[in-house]
C-alpha cells in the first residue's frame, strides 16, 4: 500500500484494486491498511473515496441526505451512466421515491409477519439436517446446507413456481458482481444476464406468484394503493435479487466460523438460545455483504478532508465490522460478545429489509444442527467464491460427529 499525500485535499491515496482476485481471496490485510490510513482514503484505481472505520461507515450509512443511493450503490454512477437493469426501488432509490416501497416491504417482511413461518422453517431445517446426516457425516457444507436450506424455504415463501429456481443463485451472483467494476467477474455473467433477468422478471408478475406468499402480499399492497401496480414487480424483484445469495453466504459464514472455533460450537450446543447471537456475530465477523457505494450530494467533510459533491464513496462494511476502535479483539468469533450495532446489514433507512428473514432461516438451521451435531471440523481444503460485493465460499468440506 502506498500513501501519497494528495496536495489538493490531503487525503491518503491508495492504488490497490480491492476488487482484484488477490484481495477478494483475503480482503483482511487491505481492510486493516484502509482503517489505519485514515478516516477516508482516495482509491486512485477507481477515482473513488473509501471509508473503512466503523465511525465513518456508520455515519455515511445513516446520512441518506448527504450520501445518496439513487445514483447507484455500485461503482457505476447513474447520473452519467446507464444502469444494467431498471434501478431497484429500494436499494437504488432515495426519499421520497424510496418511502412507499420500503414501507410495504418492511411490513411484509417484519418480524411479526414472519411468526407464521417459524414453525414451518424449524421443521424444514430439522428435516434437511436429518437427510444430510443420514447420507453421511462428511460432506461439502456449501451445497448440502448453505445453498440447500434457503433454496428450500425462501422461493416458497416468496411464492414463485418450481421451474427455473436454479437461476436464482447465478442471477444474484451477477447482480452483486455488477456493483463492482466491469472486471472479469462481471464479464463472466454477461452472456447469461438477459436470460436470467428475463426469467426473474417473469416470476415477479402477479399471475406467476402463489396467493399466500411475500409476492402476493406485495401485490395486495398495490391493490390498496400503497404502491403502484408498476412498482409491485420491481419490489418482488428485490426479494429475488437480494434474498438468496446473501443468506446462502451468511450460513456458510456461520458454518466456517464454527468449524474453526470448536469451543464456540460447544457453547451453542450447551445453550441453543445463543443461535441468534451466533448468526449476528458471524455477520459481523465475515460480513457476507462487504461493500456498498454511496454518492455525495454536497461537499462532505470526513476527518480533515472534504469529499466534493457528486463523488462515489465506497463503504467497507467488512472493515468497519472488525474495527478495533469499535470492537474488542475484533478478529475473534465470540458468542460472548454483543454484536449489536454491526453494519453487516447496513444501517439507517436502507438497512437490510430482509434481516428478520435471514435471522429466522439461520436460527432454524443452527438450532437443528445443534440438536444433533456434537462437533464440526474442516475435512479438507476450503475454496472461496469470488464476488465483487459478497464474501463467499465455493466449497467447505466438513466432518461432523453426531450422538
Amino acid at each position: 500500500m502506498t500513501l501519497t499525500p494528495d496536495l489538493a485535499t490531503d487525503v491518503p491515496v491508495d492504488d490497490t484494486d480491492p476488487f482484484g482476485h488477490e484481495h477478494l481471496e483475503d480482503p483482511l490485510p487491505f481492510h486493516h491498511a484502509l482503517r489505519e490510513a485514515g478516516p477516508v482514503v482516495y482509491l486512485s484505481r477507481y477515482d473513488v473515496h473509501a471509508v473503512g472505520r466503523y465511525e465513518q461507515v456508520h455515519a455515511a450509512l445513516v446520512d441518506w441526505q448527504r450520501f445518496q443511493s439513487a445514483a447507484g450503490v455500485g461503482l457505476s454512477n447513474f447520473r452519467t451512466e446507464e444502469p444494467w437493469r431498471p434501478p431497484s426501488l429500494l436499494l437504488e432509490a432515495d426519499p421520497p421515491r424510496h418511502d412507499a416501497p420500503r414501507r410495504v416491504l418492511t411490513s411484509v417482511l417484519g418480524q411479526r409477519a414472519l411468526r407464521t413461518l417459524r414453525e414451518r422453517w424449524t421443521a424444514d431445517a430439522e428435516q434437511l439436517v436429518d437427510q444430510v446426516l443420514a447420507a453421511g457425516t462428511e460432506f461439502d457444507a456449501v451445497p448440502a446446507l448453505s445453498e440447500a436450506f434457503p433454496l428450500r424455504v425462501f422461493p416458497d415463501a416468496v411464492g414463485i413456481g418450481h421451474d427455473g429456481r436454479e437461476n436464482l443463485l447465478p442471477y444474484g451472483d451477477h447482480a452483486f458482481n455488477a456493483f463492482g467494476p466491469p472486471n472479469d467477474l462481471v464479464q463472466k455473467g454477461e452472456h447469461r444476464v438477459a436470460q436470467l433477468s428475463g426469467w426473474v422478471g417473469e416470476q415477479c408478475a402477479r399471475e406467476a406468484l402463489t396467493d399466500d406468499g411475500f409476492g402476493a402480499a406485495i401485490w395486495a399492497a398495490a391493490d390498496r394503493g400503497e404502491i403502484t401496480p408498476q412498482q409491485a414487480p420491481l419490489v418482488v424483484r428485490s426479494l429475488l435479487t437480494a434474498g438468496v445469495d446473501t443468506t446462502v453466504h451468511a450460513i456458510s459464514a456461520i458454518l466456517y466460523a464454527f468449524a474453526t472455533h470448536p469451543d464456540q460450537w460447544a457453547r451453542l450446543v450447551a445453550d441453543p438460545s445463543l443461535a441468534r447471537v451466533a448468526f449476528d456475530e458471524a455477520i459481523r465477523w465475515e460480513s457476507p455483504v462487504q461493500t456498498f457505494f454511496r454518492t455525495t450530494t454536497t461537499d462532505v467533510r470526513i476527518g480533515d478532508a472534504v469529499v466534493p459533491e457528486g463523488r462515489k464513496v465506497l463503504m467497507f462494511l467488512a472493515a468497519a465490522n472488525r474495527d478495533p476502535r469499535r470492537w474488542a479483539d475484533p478478529d475473534r468469533y465470540d458468542l460472548g460478545r454483543d454484536p449489536s450495532g454491526h453494519v453487516g446489514f447496513g444501517m439507517g433507512l436502507h438497512q437490510c429489509v430482509g434481516q428478520h428473514v435471514a435471522r429466522l432461516e439461520a436460527e432454524a438451521v443452527l438450532t437443528a444442527l445443534a440438536r444433533r451435531v456434537r462437533t464440526i471440523e474442516l475435512a479438507g481444503p476450503t475454496r472461496r467464491h469470488h464476488n465483487n460485493t459478497l464474501r463467499a465460499w465455493e466449497s467447505l468440506p466438513v466432518r461432523l460427529t453426531v450422538d
Binding site: Y54, H58, P96, A100, G110, R224, I227, H342, Q355
Partner: protein, 327 residues
C-alpha cells in the same frame, strides 16, 4: 463533519434517543406556536416521512401526539405546530404558557399512520391545525413532480398557520377563512371523482365527516384522513424508575429514568440482540408477559400497541411499576 456527532453516545446507546430539547418556540398564528426540537447532544434524529407524528411527553407525564411539519432533509431538528385548545386538559396550555427553549421532552416514534402513497396527482384538504401533516406532503408532491391542489380552511385568516410558507405555491393553494368565505366548498374543490388521485384530509372531526360525505362517489380508499384529536392516552407515562422481571431467570433489573431497558439489561449481563437502537429495525423485539409497556418505537400500530404482548426495549419503557419479559 462526518463522524463523532452521529456515532458517539447516540450510535451506541439509547439513552438520549428518548428525549428532545426545545430549541425554539415561535408564535406563527393566533393560538398556534411551532416548536423546533433537537437531540440534546445535537445528533441526528430518527428519520421520518410526511404524515408522521411523534409522541411528546410533557413534564407532567402527559403524552400528546404532534405531526412533524418540518424539513426531513434537516436530520437534526423536528418542527411541530401546537394549537392552544380552550378545552385543553393541560397539554396545549402547558406548551403555550410554560414550555420554553432548553426544556426537555420525552420522545416516542416517529410513527406514520398517514403516509403519502405514490400518485401522479393529489388533492389536499386541511382544517386549522390539520395543516401540519399536510405541509411536508406538499413539498414531497412537488419533489415527485406530482400535480396537486390544497384547500385550507380556518376560523379567521389570523388563526391560520403557515400562510407565508404556503404563498410560494401560488394558485395551487386556496386559503378560505370561514369569516370571509363561510364553510369550505368541498364539492366544488373536489370536482368529479378522479381515479388515481388520492384525497388527503386532516382537521377537526366535522370537516372529516363532511369529507367522507363529499367523497362518497370516489373510488374506495381514495380518501385518506387523519383525525386531529389527541388520542386518549390511558394513563400518564411514568418518569420514575421501574422494575423489569426476567421470567426465565427469575431476576429483576431496575431501570432508572436515565437509562434504556436495553442498557439496564446489558449492565446486568443480559444481552438482547439489537441493531438500530432507535425503535425502527425491530431486532430487539421482546415478548412481554405482564405489565404495561410504554411504547416508543416506530413499528407497532395501535392494535399491536394495545395488545401489549411485545416491546422494543431499545426505546420503549414501562407505564406500570413492573414489566415481566420473556428473557
Amino acid at each position: 463533519m462526518l463522524g463523532v456527532e452521529q456515532v458517539g453516545a447516540r450510535g451506541r446507546s439509547g439513552t438520549d434517543r428518548s428525549v428532545v430539547q426545545v430549541q425554539d418556540k415561535v408564535q406563527v398564528a393566533e393560538g398556534v406556536v411551532t416548536l423546533t426540537l433537537a437531540a440534546p447532544d445535537g445528533g441526528r434524529l430518527p428519520d421520518w416521512a410526511p404524515g408522521a407524528h411523534v409522541d411528546l411527553t410533557l413534564e407532567s407525564g402527559l403524552t400528546r401526539q404532534y405531526s412533524l411539519c418540518g424539513d426531513r432533509w434537516d436530520a437534526h431538528t423536528y418542527r411541530v405546530g401546537v394549537l392552544l385548545e380552550p378545552a385543553s386538559r393541560g397539554g396545549s396550555r402547558y406548551v403555550h404558557e410554560q414550555l420554553a427553549p432548553g426544556h426537555v421532552l420525552g420522545l416516542g416514534g416517529p410513527r406514520n399512520d398517514f403516509p403519502l402513497v405514490p400518485a401522479e396527482s393529489y388533492l389536499f384538504v386541511a382544517g386549522g391545525i390539520g395543516i401540519t401533516p399536510i405541509l411536508p406532503m406538499l413539498a414531497q408532491a412537488d419533489l415527485l413532480g406530482a400535480d396537486w391542489r390544497l384547500l385550507y380552511g380556518g376560523r379567521t385568516r389570523g388563526s391560520m398557520a403557515f400562510l407565508d410558507e404556503l404563498s410560494v405555491h401560488g394558485d395551487r393553494v386556496q386559503v378560505r377563512p370561514q369569516d370571509e368565505h363561510g364553510l369550505l366548498d368541498l364539492a366544488g374543490f373536489l370536482g368529479d371523482p378522479r381515479p388515481g388521485t388520492p384525497v388527503y384530509a386532516c382537521g377537526p372531526g366535522p370537516l372529516l365527516t363532511a369529507m367522507e360525505r363529499a367523497c362518497a362517489g370516489w373510488p374506495a380508499r381514495a380518501l385518506r384522513t387523519e383525525r386531529f384529536v389527541a388520542a386518549e392516552q390511558a394513563a400518564p407515562v411514568r418518569t420514575t424508575a421501574f422494575d423489569v422481571e426476567l421470567h426465565r431467570s427469575g431476576r429483576t433489573v431496575t431501570v432508572t429514568p436515565d437509562t434504556s431497558v436495553l442498557e439496564a439489561l446489558s449492565a446486568a449481563g443480559v444481552e438482547v440482540l439489537s441493531s438500530c437502537r432507535q425503535g425502527t429495525c425491530g431486532t430487539c423485539e421482546t415478548t412481554v408477559l405482564a405489565g404495561r409497556p410504554d411504547h416508543r418505537d416506530s413499528l407497532l400500530d395501535d392494535d399491536e400497541r394495545a395488545a401489549g404482548d411485545c416491546m422494543y426495549p431499545c426505546v420503549s419503557r414501562s407505564c406500570s411499576d413492573r414489566l415481566v419479559l420473556d428473557l
